[in-house]
Structure formats: C-alpha cells, structure tokens
Subunit: 148 residues, 8 copies
C-alpha cells in the first residue's frame, strides 16, 4: 500500500464495524456514517471522520465528499430498501467505486441494476465458502477462528 | 472426495441453505432440519433427509443419528440462545465435529466453552476479508460475485 | 378501442381495484394478481383471470404469460420494496410495457433505473393537479366527485 | 389569478406537501398545519404561516382564522377518523369551502354528510384516470411523469 | 308492553350484551350481530336471530331487514370509526330509529350529523349521574349494585 | 348540601373527568390524581388539588390525606389490576367510603371482597338502563342527550 | 402418607410442572389444568386427570369437583389478574384448602383478602432463603443443585 | 458471621432485591448493579455500592472489583442470554464464587458448562419444595408466609 486510500462506510453494524477496523489497521483513511450514535462512538478510534446521520438522506451524502474516495461501501443493516436508496444516491453523486452488502439474490440484482455496484452477501458467501473448504481447511480454520 | 460424507444442518436460512446447496453439489449427503416448513421444502432437491422440527428439542436431535456424521453445523438464525441450546445438545449427544454460526464475539466465546466448537461469524469474517482484499482482489471478486 | 387489449395488474388495492374496474368497463381483458384472497374475490366480475399469489415470486409471474400483454401495472400497496422486486421481475421477463405506482420520488427513481418503467405517484400527482385546478374546475370537479 | 387567495392545509404528507408546493408556485398564500415538526420544516419556504399542531384539536383551528380563507383542505394522512374530526371542526367554524382527501368511498360518504365537503380519493381517482388514458395518453404521460 | 318490539343490536360487548339481556327479559325480540363468534354464542339464549358478521359491511345490514325494527342500536366497541360507518349504513338503509353508543363528545357530534341519531356515552353519562347522586342515593345505589 | 364535601378521584379518564366536572359544579372540593399529565391539566379549573402520580403507589395515596374525605372514587381506566391495587390501598389506608368503576362482573366481585366497596360498571349499567327505558323515556332522553 | 390425597393444579408452567412431578412421585393423585395444550401433554404421565381449559372460566372449575380435594394450587403464570380470578372462583366454589403462587407482595395481599389463601412468592422466597444459607449451606446446596 | 463478607449482585429484580435485603440485614456488604435506575434507587438503603449499568458489558464488571468478593450472584431477569453473558464475564474475570439464577434446566446446564457456577431455579425449586412439604409443614408455612 504505497499511497493512502480513503474509504466511506455507510453503516457500522457487525459487517461495517469489522471492515472499518480492518481498513484502519491497514493504514487507510476511513469515513464512518451511521444513524446510531453508539455504533459511531464504539469505532471512533478507527475513524478519521465520524458522522451520526441517516445515509438515505441525499444531503448527508452530498456533504461527505463522495466523489473523492477510493470506494464507498453500503452496509446499512438488514433493511434492504435503505441500502438500495443509499446506493442509488452514491451512484448519482458519482462515487468512483461502490460495494454494497446485500441481503439476498433479488436484492443483489436490484443493486446491480442501479449502476456498477459490487455486491457482497455475507451469509450466502460464507455458506458457499464453508461448503468448499469444510474438509481440507478444517484444522487451519479452527485455529484462525479461535483468536478474535 | 474419495468417500461420501454425511453433514447435519440445523437451520436452513440464508447461510444454511447456501451451505446445503454447496455440500450437495459436491456429492455429500446432507441432512437438513428447520422449524420452518417452507425453508425445508425450498431445499428438498439438495437434502437426503429433510425434517421440519425444532432443533432446540433434544429428542429431535436424539433421533437424527448425530453420532454418525462427518460434521454437524448449527445455523439457526439470529436468535443466539437457540443456537447455544442446540449446540449444547449436539455436544452432549456426541457429534464428532461441530461448527456453529455465531452472531458476535461474546456469543462465539459462549459457544466455544460448551465444547470443541468451531465458530463462524459471517458478517464479521466477511468484513475482515473485504478489508484485506479490497484493493488487490477487486476485479476478480467482482466477476465471481456477479454470477449467482 | 378497435382490438381487445390484455392488462396484467399486480396488486388489487384501492388503486389497482379502481383501475381494474375502469379497464374492464372499457372492454379490456384484465388479469388480476393479489396475495389477499378477499381483494381478488371482490373484483372477480371484472377479471378475466384471477390469481391469489405473491407477485414478488418470480415463478408466479413466469406463469402469467407476461410477454403477451398490452401493459403490466405494478401496484402492490405501500411496501415499496415489494413493488421494486415485482417490477424488476417484470422487466427481466420481458413485459412489453410496465407502469408502476410509486410511493415517493426516491422510490420512483429506483423504479426507473430498473428499466423503461412509467411511474405514477397518486398522492403527489393529485396534489399537483388540485393546485392547478382548485379555482377554475371547482364546481365541475365537485359534481363529478359526488357520484361514485 | 388577479387577486391573492389564502389556502389552509391541514396535513402536509405526500398529498398536502405536493399541493402546498403547487399553490405557492402559483402565487397563493398557504397556511400549513401538521403535527409532525419535520413535515412542517421541509416545506417552510412554501408556507406563509406554518404551525406544528394537532388539527383535530378545535382550539388550533379556532386560532387559524378559518373564516377568512379561499378554501381549507383536509389531508391528514391515512387515519380516516382524524380527517373526519378535523373536517367537522372546519364545517362548524365556518370555512367558506372545504376539500378533503378521503381514503375510500365509505369515508367519502361520511365526509359529505358533515356538510358541503368536496372529496378527493387520490388512489381511486388516479386508477380511474389511468384506465381512461392508458392507451391514448401513454407517451405524453410518460414524458411528464419523468420530470419531478 | 302490549305488542312485541324488534330490536337490532350491532355489537355485543359489555354494553350490547347487557342491553340484549335486558330487552329479552322484558319480552322483546332481539337481533344480535357481532364479528366475534364467542360474543354471539354467549348470548344465544337471549337472541331471536344471531349473526356472526361484520356490521360495517353494508350487505350484512341490508340482509337484516333493518327497515322493520323498533330501533337499531350501534354499539361496536371502542373503535369509533366502525361505529360511525355502521351508523351511516343504518341511516341510509332507513332504520326507523337509531341509538348509538359513542366514545367521546366529538364522536357524538359526528354521529348526530349523519342523521337523527340518539347518542349514549356510558362513561361520561355515568360520571355525571354519579356526581348528581353521590350523596343522596348512596345507600340505595349500594344495595342495587351489590346484586348482579 | 349544607357543608362542603371533599372527594378524591383516582383516574381522570372519561368517567373520572365527567365526575370531576359534575362534583365541582355542585360546589364540592375535588382532589384529582392521574398518571397522565395532560389528563390532569385539562381539568385543572375543576380541581382543588391536582397530582400527576401513579395511584397504585401506596406512598402517593398515603400523602393524599385519604382518611379525611367524603368518598374516594377509583376509576383508573380499563386495566382492572391497577384498579384493584389502588382500591386495596384505599381500604387499608382507611378511606371512609370507596366507590370503584369496575370492568366486568368478576372484577366487581374481586373489588367487593377487598372491603366495603361500591362498584359501578358504566357499560353494563347503561345497557340495563337503556333496556328499561328505551320505549317510555325515548323522546325525553333524546333531548337531554343532545346537549353536552 | 397413609391415605391417598388429591391435588388440583391450575397452571402447569415451571412452578406447576415441578410441583405436579413432585406430588406424583410421592404417590398423590394430581389433576392438572392449563390453557396450553403442550404444557398438559408434557406432563401426562404424572397426571391422573388432565384438562386443556381456561381456569379463569368458572364453569371449568365447577366441573373439576373442587370441593373434593386435599388442596388446590393456583399457579397460572405471571399474569396476576388471571391468578386472582381463578383464586376467587376456588374460594367461592368451596375448595377446602387453597395455595396460590403470587408475583409480588401487593399481589399476595389481594389474594389473602379473597379468603383463606396461602401465598408463595418463589422469587422472593428463594432470595430470602439464599440470603440465609449462602455461607453455611454452600457446598451442600451446590451438590444438590448439580443433579436435576 | 465473624468477618464481614462482600456480595456482588447483578440484577435487582424480585429475586435480587429480596436477596439484597436479606444479606444487608445480616450485616454483609452488598454491591448492587442493575440497568434500571428505579430498581437501584428502591434498594439504596441496603446497598454499600449501587451502580446503574448494563452488567452484560464486560467493562462494567471489570470496574466492580469482582476478584475481591465472597460471591457474585447473577440474577438479571428472565432473559436467559443476558444472564449467560454476564456469568461468562464473571468466570473470565475471576470471581471466586458464582451463583446464578436460571430459568430452566437447559439454561442451567449451559451456565454450569461456563465454569464452576451454582445454579438456582426459583420456580422449579419452590415447586419441588412445596411437593415435599405440602402436608406436614402446612400450618407452619402458612404462618410464616403471612407476614411479609
């Protein structure tokens, strides 16, 4: 990682928080936006900019300097419609790269139709990954999972 | 995969369904148990044995021949206590290997104290994975994610 | 109306029911699909084909011969996400023309990004219409509104 | 529009907000009353007088100078009883003209029995309108709907 | 009571049930309609005709021979709108006399505007009655209240 | 009424408010206690002492000088258990006379077992009263009910 | 225990089920009544008579031969009012001895006023018991608690 | 009790409050932690240290000097998972002795697997106790229960 990247995270739940932590530990700049004040506070040490706001509100995104980021990640919990709206704003406001955590395959297809959005489905992706590696990687994975 | 394995899945939600499909496609025998009849029906073609039942009920597990499986996977949705109870039954009934989908790190620690249980946290694990690969693996992941 | 048209209505609530009635009275063929059995029964006399089913389920739409209709209208109540999913299925299954009742302007923008979808917002459209005609058309409108 | 009119709007939801905007743009004076502070704030620029208050409370209406308006429009959301109560107050307090947004035909009949009230049913009226114009007006309507 | 009267009761809750019992004991014919099957069953012995149906549905009232009764009493619980709708139907279908149990004074005013409806407000009426008689009638009332 | 009486009202809902008004208009001193601040405020002009407090809390009643009143009336809404607890406190704290608004006949029997409590059941009592007077008193009652 | 006793249990929750088991193991006849079918089924082997019914319904108790029992125990869960009503019925129907599981001290006082009722408060009684024995009985209790 | 003991109570509900009172009356030092401010206030006079906090939060327990107590008692209401989490923290933070109020036998088994935890089940334990003593101890228990 030669030059510093700037990532914007909409939603700091279990997925978003884990991602924020990981990105910060690798030296990236992280902007975190969540409607829940506690979620923002818990991650303060990992965030360069922290905002308690509703990311479905276009003005909130408009003020976050979306055009100037490495990638924007939409991960606003399990309410698919809110993720869809925020992703649409991000497309319209010109985010250079958008990744969205989806809920199911229909949700993923809708997201992809809104623009060039890369979709991640944690539950389904992990299910498929485990099916693939359940035999070979067993001992190894067990060790890695044991430490938080 | 020289010899056929038998996997028992407690819970056929997004994670469990995806896992069932993946295991069946690799030629494994899959036993699926879920309290929701629709969830079981939707996966019928991938299941060797299918059971609509409450996997927190010890008698249900007792009848499922738990001792004779390659691994038992606990993935009963987002109600952590139900996962914990089912995992405890599985330990007591002698499942040779247990993998459990957890909700958060406290939940994971409780599960590990019940016995030798391997814990997966899809949201957190995917968050960390993405932090790791967001730059390098971008194009590749984008392609892989695009096909269901 | 020289030649008979065939319209598919997803959702038979206040908007959909009123539309079904109007289309049938003009001599069109109307296919009505709603998840609520009572809603379907109440309109039976106006429907050529009536189906109690969930129109967010792609298989339901697949069986409705969507390719062969004059227009398909999505009007599944106030749950925007369900409307969005059904509209996406309709686009993918090749409906020749799609009209969707939306909830608000963000919802309308999402619908339009899914394909060539014409969006109607009854509350907002009527508000604007009334602002336009509140002075001139007053007496006339009053008379027309008085008879059901 | 030679001389300025004054309109009182009870309720600034989707219908009321759209109406307020339209009336203001035509140069009318608009008084807006809503129990929801955000709804009032969002329209501030279009309102000559703005009031956060419960319009089912007769004292609120008593203070709004109801006798001196061009028309009073009741549009307090989907709770029909609240609309009925506000409309009754408006009749008793001598509003020169009353228009009410209704929910269904029974609701409309009750409103009309309270006095000389003109009733609008957005969903049903738009359904009937679309049935009428779905063939002829198609392209035209599509263009007009596309711009917010 | 020389000649037998016929009373139609919409709603068999605490007020309606007590009224049905009292009317039957005086030798009147009582028709009871309630949406709750148990409420109807509990009063069977006091009813000449008993109907489990929704009295806000105009067809239900249309079939009850409303024109031919001594009085129709509307007492459908604490949901004022349902009482208002049923009372409006009763007016339109020509009930010779209508009594309605109201909830509060605004509710009562609405009912009275629908037609010539006599309104009873049990809570308020009893409050005023007690204020009047709390001193004088004390011992007497106490005795009377003691026997069910 | 030669000498002024003092009445304590627990609960200022529809029944209690109506009673408070009636007692005050006859020149009695009225103490009103309700957990809902608005209910207390609305009656301020009729109350000599007004208290926003939970009357199931024995200390609240202990401070209200219960021993020195003409009668205490328990009318705390439709939650029977709260009425029962407050009535029990009133008995134990030595109220000289207790009247309680009950919900149904079982509720009334429980109240009477707690001590010498006079029970009023507004719905049932009005139902029986109407059954008695529906023919004779019709015109008269109609007139009286018409004025608030 | 020379001669066989007959106990009637209203409510088969955690407390009631544990009591039923204990009484049956000592050779007593146990009658169990609960509104929940599963609760009754789970204890079938311990019950001489089992009834799925609502014990607040006086007719249910009237048919249970209450006068002829050693004791009747009221333990209908955490809804105090239901316990109070059932206990009142039991007093009125002449149960020779009544024990009731209460919720808190106010609840207990109400129960005792209904008749000669012995009240048990499991949470509070165990709290006090533990305070008494926490030091001395520690090891012993620990052993006893360890076996189910 | 020669030397003063220090007890930490997590949860001050019915069980915890009763225990706190009993311990304080015997001269022990009592530390009380509960998330509900009122629960803490009501017991202030019996507590040496009182804390309004969430005892599932490990930092709360870390600050409570858990290593230095005679025993820690987990009694956080009927939500088993919260009790399990707090008990796990207490084990990990080195409480010398842990007692936990459980809900049912499965819950108890989970608690015991987390470490050396003594489990109390108030409902079940009292049920069994009553089964044992219902005949012999009847009069005695009745007397003791009668005084609060």
């Amino acid at each position: 990682m030669a030059k510093k990247s700037r990532f914007i995270l909409l939603g700091l739940g279990r997925f978003g928080a884990s991602l924020a932590r990981g990105l910060a530990e690798k030296g990236h700049k992280v902007v975190g936006i969540d409607i829940d004040e506690d979620a923002v506070k818990d991650l303060e040490e990992f965030l360069d900019e922290a905002l308690v706001a509703d990311a479905t509100d276009r003005e909130v995104l408009g003020a976050a300097n979306i055009g100037d980021c490495t990638a924007l990640i939409v991960a606003m919990g399990d309410e698919p419609l809110r993720n869809i709206i925020a992703a649409m704003h991000a497309v319209e406001l010109g985010a250079p790269r958008i990744i969205a955590r989806g809920t199911d395959h229909e949700h993923a297809r809708i997201l992809r139709k809104l623009g060039d959005i890369q979709v991640i489905l944690p539950e389904q992706d992990m299910g498929r990954y485990l099916a693939e590696h359940i035999n070979a990687a067993s001992d190894d994975a067990r060790n890695k999972a044991a430490d938080k």
